[in-house]
């Protein structure tokens, strides 16, 4: 009988201790647990690294273009080589700041600015049509010395009905290299 009473007292002590702990937890974390709190926190970020894609060309100039012709390549020397000089595997997207039709001023036929990819590592679409939305052009470009480069060759299809014949028109292609942290 005495042993039972001692066990009951121990149980009572344990329950009271747990209840006190419960109150402490609710006081400090009650808002967080229920979602009914607003707390100002200091956000600290550490940038581990920066991807580094080095381009050997900053401009591509097409030679004389004729209306209604396809796949005219730029002049020799305008092929772009990109080297992954960083320490991480990268993927690359490309986006035009205007459509090919707008760039060429054409009103009929098909106008397109394409990019052909030769990748020393990983994969890349053989020919990708660029647009005003980001398009994947290179995936899994390694940072290794022997396989860290990719060659981009731009070609252009010219439609018809252009009103701006003889006028040089310009567009920007933005290439964004993003680290592929998972490598997949």
């Amino acid at each position: 009988m005495a042993r039972t009473r001692r066990n009951d007292d121990m149980m009572k002590l344990a329950a009271i201790s747990a209840a006190v702990s419960l109150v402490v937890v609710l006081v400090f974390f009650g808002g967080t647990l229920t979602g009914n709190s607003s707390t100002d926190v200091t956000l600290t970020t550490t940038i581990n690294a920066t991807t580094t894609c080095t381009f050997n060309e900053s401009a591509v100039v097409f030679g004389a273009l004729l209306l209604e012709t396809d796949a005219q390549a730029p002049e020799v020397g305008d092929v772009i080589e990109v080297v992954n000089d960083g320490s991480t595997i990268v993927n690359m997207t490309a986006v035009l700041n205007q459509t090919a039709t707008s760039l060429l001023g054409t009103t009929t036929g098909t106008s397109a600015l394409d990019i052909a990819v030769t990748n020393e590592s990983g994969t890349g679409s053989s020919i990708t049509a660029l647009g005003t939305s980001a398009t994947d052009v290179v995936t899994l470009l390694l940072p290794d010395d022997s396989t860290d480069a990719v060659t981009l060759t731009t070609t252009i299809d010219v439609g018809g009905g252009a009103s701006n014949v003889g006028i040089a028109n310009e567009a920007l292609i933005s290439f964004v290299c993003t680290a592929d942290v998972d490598g997949n």
Binding site: R5, D8, M11, K12, A14, A15, A18, A19, S21, L22, V25, L26, F29, T32, L33, I47, N48, A49, T50, T51, T52, C53, F55, S58, A59, V60, F62, A64, L65, L66, L67, E68, I80, V82, G86, T88, V90, L103, L104, G105, T154, I156, G160, A162, V165, G166, I167, A168, N169, E170, A171, L172, I173, S174, F175, V176, C177, T178, A179, V181
Partner: protein, 69 residues
């Protein structure tokens, strides 16, 4: 001490343990960190100039050929 009080104490004990576990999980979750690597953006300027019509070029060649004869 009757049986009901024993049950109540047991439930309080169980509740406290569960709550402490949730709180501990949330505290551990707050301490997670992600790897941050900034992207790199490069721009290439494309310049195009349309000099004429491919059909016009053919016509011009024929005209020149005709004038020479």
């Amino acid at each position: 001490m009757n049986m009901n009080n024993k049950n109540m104490y047991a439930y309080i004990l169980l509740g406290a343990v569960l709550l402490a576990g949730v709180a501990g999980y949330m505290m551990a979750d707050q301490a997670e960190s992600d790897t941050v690597i900034l992207p790199d953006t490069n721009e290439v300027l494309i310049t195009v100039t349309i000099t004429g019509n491919s059909l016009d070029a053919d016509v011009t060649t024929e005209d020149n050929y005709g004038s020479n004869t």
